[in-house]
Subunit: 265 residues, 2 copies
């Protein structure tokens, strides 16, 4: 059974001048240490579910594996917060780790080891995916309605995978990068293509979220939050349709609007 | 003159079914590369102001310098996005960088190189600082009112330093860690003590924000957002007064409530 991701804590709640001892539900944050091919690799701070997806998605985002064929074994010691991943080929960790470092602005680690600027050399996304703004707003609303933890605590991010008709699955995490990595990891574990899907996120669209999406080939990235200048530039250059501030009956298209049919909104 | 941190971009705004070509103000995200003692150290993604404070605060948070006495020189090449820092002593970068890595959930890098769990061995904060919840709410409101960028874009975090009476200064950044590091850096550059001050942030109170605050000796950390189980535990253990969901006329005290006088709220 998955952890609910919530714990009761004793707090003093002060409301219009009156303090009261109460219980409050607080979102769980736990360390997850990834061992890659027998070697301690990294510790992530995360919410306590979909940990296998998180580990695989993180390693994919960092370029340490690419598809399920690269995965030989994955096992989780939930008690210790350890996940052991064995890949088919050997990975040159030294080179991966000790090269250029970019520390990003991302909630949920961003990308520690990859160079944001290099990724501008990524190939543009090509996809014939089209859908209406109306469907996009419906998908985002559905993701939000699915986010039990956010409703309970206000302290987590959501992400989701969708095709042009429906939400396929959602994730939640204290970090917006973790939430996206959980989606990526599940796609890899279940052999689901990403280059014909939509990535939805509750979090800000910073450059490294867009670069992460681009690496997976997502043609459309949507958020209820704001983009940045760098993320707009990157999305424009890489052929990604970037939609921000998608809330209620409105949305802003920041790059490559051709994939969104707005008449029907 | 400081950059406004905003750029106009062309967007398609879709509102209740009608698409329109419009201008939108988007928050600037830029790479800042820190050179430490002549060597390229790290690239941060950040908002384009208080870059010297950000560099110094980041290095302090990573334990690579401690006070202004450790700083020999700092110079900024704004055009290139480079900042050159020279420290008084030599820094064993290899050891700092290639030791245990924890990648945190933080917006704005968190802490790439330090081990979250080790920091539980930090010394508890000792401080006689006391203030009323009323003043705390006033300080947070003032911080929010000062945040021009947030008002314009909804895409940035704020942080601020306050004493028991007033706000001393604020910072803004696309990353919540960057915003806090800018406060820390300014304190170091201006020789301002932190162990008798209040750290305010608009962002979530994840463990590494609390650990960062603890390292600086802040006795009180306040946010309008949610804490996590790990951050509450750490604050309790380290003697830090942790206040979350401070909005309007209410706030929640998650640890060490003794410093907040709630009768007068």
């Amino acid at each position: 059974m998955e952890d609910t991701g919530l714990r009761d804590v004793d707090i003093i709640r002060v409301k219009s001048g009156y303090p009261a001892e109460e219980k409050d539900q607080v979102v769980v944050e736990m360390p997850l240490t990834i061992f890659l091919n027998g070697r301690e690799f990294v510790t992530l701070l995360c919410s306590p579910f979909s940990l296998d997806c998180l580990a695989v998605g993180f390693l994919r985002s960092e370029g340490l594996l690419f598809d399920s064929g690269d995965l030989e074994e994955i096992s989780l010691d939930r008690e210790k917060g350890f996940v052991y991943v064995r890949t088919a080929g050997s990975v040159d960790l030294e080179e991966k780790l000790y090269g250029k470092r970019t520390v990003t602005s991302g909630c949920g680690k961003g990308t520690v080891f990859f160079n944001v600027l290099d990724s501008l050399q990524s190939k543009p996304v090509v996809s014939s995916l089209r859908l209406s703004g109306e469907v996009l707003l419906k998908l985002l609303k559905e993701m939000q309605n699915n986010s039990a933890l956010f409703k309970a605590t206000g302290g987590v991010h959501s992400a989701a995978l969708a095709d042009r008709e429906q939400l396929l699955f959602c994730s939640e995490d204290i970090g917006r990068h973790n939430a996206v990595d959980k989606i990526v990891g599940r796609c890899i574990l279940d052999n689901i293509s990403m280059d014909d899907k939509i990535l939805l996120t509750s979090g800000r669209l910073s450059s490294e979220i867009v670069i992460k999406g681009a690496k997976m080939g997502f043609p459309i990235i949507v958020s209820r939050s704001a983009p940045t200048t760098l993320s707009v530039e990157i999305a424009a250059k890489l052929g990604i349709t970037l939609v921000g501030f998608a809330r209620g009956k409105r949305l802003n298209i920041y790059a490559n609007p051709n994939r969104i049919n707005s008449d029907s909104l």
